[in-house]
């Protein structure tokens, strides 16, 4: 994700923006495989609270991460109006549970602002930059650390290359 910020002004990237509660976030469209409605997940034993369980994505077992809970907000009680954004992180597919998908936005990488220094670790872990659009603030999410096994050490090169792709 760093490299998105470092890209010189003039490069534009496409992002998918979505809403969790009152806040707006976005991810690189290249990491998104599909968007689908909520289907009940099979819960996994000993899973962290933000892992809702697994669903059947045309034969593949897809873990669902409650992005709100992942970022330390309230655990989502999903209903059929919630949305799953199927993303590809490294070699794994992960579904992100969000409230609603808003838009596809094209932004100049130069307009992405550095995340301000906050005390909150969660923000540091997941928010890699901020976008100002029509008076709204959209946080650019780094997918690296969404799944627990991918935390910390596995970030880095692979993800950067995926996002650069």
């Amino acid at each position: 994700m760093e490299d998105i910020i470092q890209r010189k002004s003039g490069d534009s990237i496409e992002l998918i923006s979505f809403r969790i509660g009152e806040q707006e976030f976005c991810v690189d469209i290249m990491a998104v495989r599909e968007i689908r409605g909520w289907t009940p997940a099979t819960s996994l034993p000993q899973a962290p609270s933000f892992v809702k369980g697994v669903i059947n994505l045309r034969g593949a077992v897809l873990p669902i991460v409650d992005l709100a809970a992942r970022m330390g907000m309230a655990v989502t009680e999903p209903n059929e109006r919630h949305v799953i954004i199927v993303t590809r992180i490294c070699d794994q597919q992960v579904g992100l549970l969000v409230d609603a998908v808003c838009d596809i936005i094209t932004v100049d990488t130069g307009t992405i602002q550095q995340t301000p220094d906050l005390a909150c670790d969660v923000v540091k872990t997941f928010v890699k930059g901020l976008l100002a659009m029509e008076g709204r603030m959209i946080s650019l999410i780094s997918l690296d650390n969404v799944l627990p096994t991918l935390e910390a050490e596995q970030a880095g090169a692979e993800t950067a290359s995926i996002l650069a792709a």
Binding site: Q46, G59, V61
Partner: protein, 766 residues
């Protein structure tokens, strides 16, 4: 991969097949089968390896296979009797040849001493049969090479027609002079007319070499036919005008052998092979060729027709080819030839056509069919939910669909299935080597090599079976002296049998050795602290002690077995395949190990259960029985553990819901169902579930592909309602936990279904 390397890979793959055929053929010969076709197949196998090795300049391999081939050729021609001693030598040579092939493939080297000793032995065998035969196969034809002949063009300018014919006739004369001995009694003569077309030369084939190959089969008389040759003025130097007619005489030359010579130029030449004394056979053979398959009744009718004197004998239409074949038809011979043709056609049937397919493609197909099955089940469920009648056309259509889907699934699974032969075939060598090392006399009997099972299962069977065969010879069989003293034949028998039984493959390894020494086994188990001395065990239970970890009966660690790998490892690897292993033994009469394995790792027979509102699947192989616990049978043990009395034994009662963390309070056991399961180590436990939904075959889906291993869960599957259900890792849930639940650290120590090889986890397979 560059093309040459790719061809090389194919060559080595084919080498493996040839080696298997070689060994199979030699074993059949050792078993008393004297079918000349087997000898030919054996010879061909070595010959092909030599040919390929030559193309890749694999000197060592060429050298050894050449010596081997020479010896086999003499056996083929009957100059060396194929007695037991010779066959033993040949089998050992086949082992060395296999080593050479592997060395050529993987780098590394062959045991030079062994190889050269074997080569010497083969040479001694070849030379030991007297000079005549030697000359037959080698020296006699060393001069049989097409040499360029200078043509004086000044002559041809004057009289083109005559002089070319003269010159060519001179060349022909030299060739024909190669051997003109008349055939002895019992010899067969083949008339071969060989008219190369231009394509043959364009593909860099050489008629001379083909004729030389023919010369290897027997005495040949070659005549060059120049009648197709145009005037020099009209001649295209790159066209093919010449033809040869060859009379090949020798003992028991098979048509197939003759055809093999021309295998590579098939389609690029006009070829006519007729047995001299049975031209009518040609008609039959042609009709078989034309139809492409055997119609036995037609053959018999044709043979009967041939017996009628004066029946029309149609000589083969010669087309552009001139010299007609002699058509001396003798009815009796014709009948014989018809039978020959039949046998030949049968042989053709025996080698079905195959294609090589990338395993990944097959796995992808299997995956997709798995989806189809799930989807079909979902559809059925939806239709049922709509309240449609069973007899409605939609429901009936769905029934048909279901049947079709099952058939597709079975057929696709069959693609991955392979005969166990591919693993069995390495054991004759193993047995020979161990027998030599231990000084025991061993005969290996193999049955049911054609039994098919999933490729992955086969691959992972090799190690456990190797180990068990080693054990059977090393520990099971007595020395020849001991056997004689016990009134048994000196030669011990190890039997390896495979069969299908109720949707699983059963493999039995039995020996007729001394059987399990029960008092000693029990003593060792007591000494090693595996059981307490007072334990009262049945014979069966004592036999099964050898599967316990840390148990090894061999007093000394021998070179063969007992390299720290015990039967517990064998048991574990079998169980990781979803299989079971059992032993039955009778003192003085031998032991039998029985393995029972699933046919595939992609699907699993499971018991679908409900626990705390969740649907789970328990592998059926682990379940011994299910029962409704009675309050009186359940007892508390310690602060929060419970045991249940099942007949005479007490087994721990484990609430799956609690151990997986689905609930914190265990409902009364009497309200649920207990599954009595057996783990890897043979330990038992009763797993409490709320209800049993039924028994179902499920397609295994990897959890790790998109997530990570989950303690207590082996894998996932997708049920008919389209939802994911988790498959229990029985061993992991059985392991007593220090705290409540399984905790974050995996409690399982490499247990449960090892799914790394399941086709669904493509990441690991690929």
């Amino acid at each position: 991969m560059d093309p040459l390397a790719a061809i090389k890979v194919t060559f080595f793959q084919e080498c493996e097949e040839q080696l298997a055929e070689l060994e199979g053929g030699l074993l059949a010969m050792e078993g008393g089968d004297h079918d000349p076709e087997i000898v030919n197949a054996v010879f061909r196998a070595v010959h092909s390896i030599k040919g390929g090795a030559g193309a890749f300049s694999l000197e060592e391999l060429v050298r050894f296979s050449h010596v081997f081939e020479t010896a086999l050729d003499l056996i083929r021609s009957g100059d060396i009797p194929a007695d037991q001693e010779t066959l033993k030598l040949l089998l050992r040579s086949a082992d060395v040849l296999a080593d050479h092939v592997r060395a050529a493939r993987d780098g590394g080297s062959v045991d030079e001493g062994r190889s050269s000793a074997m080569a010497e032995a083969l040479e001694a065998l070849a030379s030991g049969m007297g000079g005549g035969g030697e000359a037959d196969t080698g020296d006699g034809f060393s001069d049989f090479v097409f040499n360029p002949v200078a043509i004086d063009l000044s002559d041809t300018a004057a009289a083109p027609d005559a002089s070319i014919e003269d010159l060519l006739a001179r060349v022909t004369g030299e060739v024909a002079a190669a051997d003109a001995d008349e055939g002895a009694e019992g010899d067969v003569t083949w008339h071969i007319r060989f008219y190369p077309q231009v394509g043959l030369y364009q593909k860099a084939n050489e008629s001379g070499l083909l004729l030389r190959e023919l010369a290897r089969l027997g005495r040949i008389d070659v005549r060059l036919d120049v009648s197709g040759l145009p005037n020099l003025q009209n001649m295209n130097p790159e066209d093919a005008y010449l033809g040869w007619s060859v009379e090949l005489t020798g003992p028991a030359i098979e048509e197939a052998a003759v055809r093999d010579v021309f295998e590579w130029v098939d389609g690029d030449c006009y070829l006519d092979i007729v047995r001299a004394d049975a031209a009518s056979a040609q008609t039959l053979a042609t009709s078989i060729d034309a139809v492409g398959e055997v119609d036995v009744m037609a053959l018999i009718r044709a043979a009967q027709a041939a017996e009628v004197p004066g029946a029309a004998m149609v000589p083969p239409s010669s087309g552009s080819a001139p010299a007609g074949a002699p058509a001396r038809a003798e009815p009796a011979k014709a009948k014989e030839a018809a039978l020959d043709a039949k046998a030949q056609a049968a042989a053709r049937e025996a080698s079905p056509q195959t294609i090589r397919v990338d395993l990944e493609r097959v796995d992808r197909l299997i995956d997709l069919v798995g989806e189809l099955v799930i989807n079909q089940a979902m559809l059925t469920q939806r239709v049922a939910e709509c309240g449609l009648q069973r007899a409605s056309s939609v429901a009936m259509g769905l029934d048909d669909l279901e049947q079709l889907t099952r058939e597709i699934q079975d057929s696709v699974m069959a693609i991955r299935a392979q005969p166990v032969k591919s693993v069995f075939q390495r054991f004759p060598r193993l047995v020979r080597e161990i027998a030599a090392m231990t000084g025991k006399e061993v005969r290996l009997i193999m049955e049911g090599e054609g039994t098919e099972v999933d490729k992955t299962v086969i691959e992972r069977l090799s190690d456990p079976l190797t180990h068990m065969i080693r054990n059977a010879i090393d520990h099971g069989l007595e020395t020849p002296e001991e056997r004689e003293a016990a009134g048994k034949p000196r030669e011990g028998v190890v039997k390896l049998a495979a069969l299908h039984r109720s949707g699983r493959i059963v493999i039995e390894i039995s020996d007729d050795g001394r059987g399990i020494n029960r008092p000693r086994v029990k003593q060792i188990a007591v000494d090693k602290g595996l059981i307490s001395p007072e334990t009262n065990l049945s014979d069966d239970e004592i036999d099964n002690l050898i599967f316990m970890a840390g148990f090894s009966t061999a007093a000394t660690v021998s070179d063969i077995s007992g390299r720290g790998v015990g039967m517990d490892v064998v048991r574990r690897s079998i169980q990781s395949l979803g299989g079971r292993i059992n032993i039955s033994s009778r003192p003085g009469q031998g032991s039998t190990f029985t393995l029972s394995l699933p046919l595939t790792l992609a699907v699993l027979d499971g018991m679908v259960v409900t626990v705390a509102g969740q649907t789970l699947v328990a592998p059926l192989t682990a379940i011994i029985e299910s029962l409704q616990p009675k309050a009186a049978d359940v007892r508390n043990l310690g602060p929060n553990a419970q045991v249940i009395a099942i007949r005479d034994t007490h087994v721990p009662l484990i609430d799956i819901g609690r151990s997986l963390g689905y609930r914190t309070v265990t409902p009364p056991p009497t309200e649920g169902v207990a599954l009595l399961v057996e783990g890897e180590g043979g330990s038992r436990a009763a797993l409490m579930v709320d209800a049993i939904q039924g028994q179902r075959q499920v397609v295994i889906k990897s959890l790790e592909a998109n997530y990570r291993p989950v303690p207590g869960i082996a894998a996932a599957t997708i049920l008919g309602d389209g939802r994911v259900a988790l498959i229990l890792d029985i061993d992991a849930v059985m392991v007593p936990k220090p705290h409540e639940g399984l905790g974050a650290a995996p409690a399982s120590t490499g247990g449960g279904y090892d799914l790394s090889a399941a086709p669904t986890s493509l990441a690991k397979v690929g």
